[in-house]
Amino acid sequence: MTAQLRLTRRRLLGFGAAAASLAGLAGCTPVAPRTAQARVVVVGGGFGGATAAHYLQQWSEGAIAVTLVEPRRRYISCPMSNLVLGGSKALDEMTLGYDALARLGIRVVHDHAVAIAAERRVLRLASGAALPYDRLVVSPGVELLFEQVRGMSEAAARQIPHAWQAGEQTALLRQQLEAMPDGGTVLIGVPAAPYRCPPGPYERACQIASYLKAHKPRAKLIVLDANAQPVAKAALFTRVWREDYAGILEHRPNARVAEVDVATRTFTLESGERERGDVLNLIPPMRAGALAHATGLAGDGERWCPVDWMTLESTRLPGVHVLGDATLSAPGMPKSAHMANQHGKAAAAAIVELLAGRVPEPPVMANTCYSMVDDRQAIHVASMHRYDATQKTMVATAGGLSGSERGRWVAEGRYAWGWARSIWADSFG
């Protein structure tokens, strides 16, 4: 305790002065007496936001007061949630909370962020509270665009689940699969890229096919894909479908779902072709989370938030950093939980340096996506990304996919669950 106090005080001296001078530059007129700590508020407690809060707290060594704003008290991991559909895992095995981050000294506020006064550097919450900040981090996730598919709405999603934000929706889709008689048909509608988790729809197809193969062998699964081929790991998924799920799973490319009829459980494709099913899963098109559009972090007509990849600071609102799926991705960069976690660290590193009056290092980020193709085997895609000063963006510098030897995919299945446990601890403490 004593040691920690001394450490904190020692760091505060240099830090407080730098933060005060930066605040002066930004034209901020504090109404209350300034605290010695710089203030960073993080909005959104998913993989991006939780990681940013975690690493800001760790790397600033007490020099930054970190507040995390997140309405939910429990967070259900999207990574691994397809396994609930396959039946090998339950949602409570992937349910996370914020207690560990709070124990590290992060102030966790369970509320909705509603507005950003960027010129005064104040965040307003639904409760009416105002949180002043020196730097703001926004990790708003995605908003589902139901209205882009005729007949679809949030209400319709209670019958035609998307299950693209894990939780109740995942449980609903699982219940429908269990209730479906053998010989039934399952339909999955996949949106055009870019969307959250490029390999996710294809992993889901494997999980549902795996469940049908074991429990409803006369049932069929049709994947209606708006894209010309699987958006990620195309050759690997195609091979699994051929070798493991022939006669059960059919993948149809260039088959965008344009309309849903909830009453008759029918998808109408852009081509006019109709497909009726017993269980329908529609993954709608998406864009950056609602807060990004309400605050101008995504401009008029923009689906995603442009950022300066050196610091992840918004190019629309100064002093605000945007993370995760909501960003306008750099070339070759997926919208994944792993990448959101890396954004959180890159932003945390940049903010610690900026508030101390130093120049941030160019960021480096890794990505690893495991997809479980049944209850034991996984395939991966991995890549490294570095900031390129000439192109002023992140570029992929190395990477690869699972090898063709299927014996190794069982080891990869163990690593996939190990990956989940590591990233949960790394993001949520």
């Binding site: 920690q4 510098t397 190990g418 590591s422 790394d426």
Partner: protein, 126 residues
């Protein structure tokens, strides 16, 4: 020297300090030791973000809670050799040989020195 004795020594040193910290006032000497130990575990800005790219898979500070191998507290020379072999495609791996290609010699040295300093076994039983 095997990693085990080094690891044990480090645990002993930390274990010996903790009761003092909790018990009351510290001498200046002890306070500085604890503060410096905490600060040493933090890396310089130039390496800490690079090292943090490892944590998603290998756990916070390289200390894995699950099936991924921990890299915290491994001897520096071992980590350097392993990363170089992975980069050259000479070590057996499912994935890491693909990412290792992105690291320079200097980065491998700095990462190895960083992870060799990290305490191990905070998340998993020894």
């Amino acid at each position: 020297m095997t990693p085990m004795p080094r690891l044990t020594m480090r645990r002993l040193a930390i274990g010996a300090l903790l009761p003092l910290v909790g018990a009351g006032p510290l001498g200046a000497q002890d306070a500085r030791t604890a503060a410096d130990a905490a600060h040493d575990a933090q890396a310089a800005p130039a390496v800490r973000l690079l090292a943090a790219t490892c944590a998603n898979c290998h756990g916070p500070q390289g200390d894995s809670p699950g099936a991924m191998p921990s890299i915290a507290g491994l001897p520096r020379e071992h980590l350097v050799e392993r990363l170089r072999m992975l980069r050259a495609g000479a070590a057996d791996a499912t994935l890491m040989h693909q990412l290792a290609k992105a690291y320079s010699d200097d980065e491998i040295e700095r990462l190895a020195a960083h992870f060799a300093r990290q305490p191990r076994g905070r998340r998993t039983a020894p």
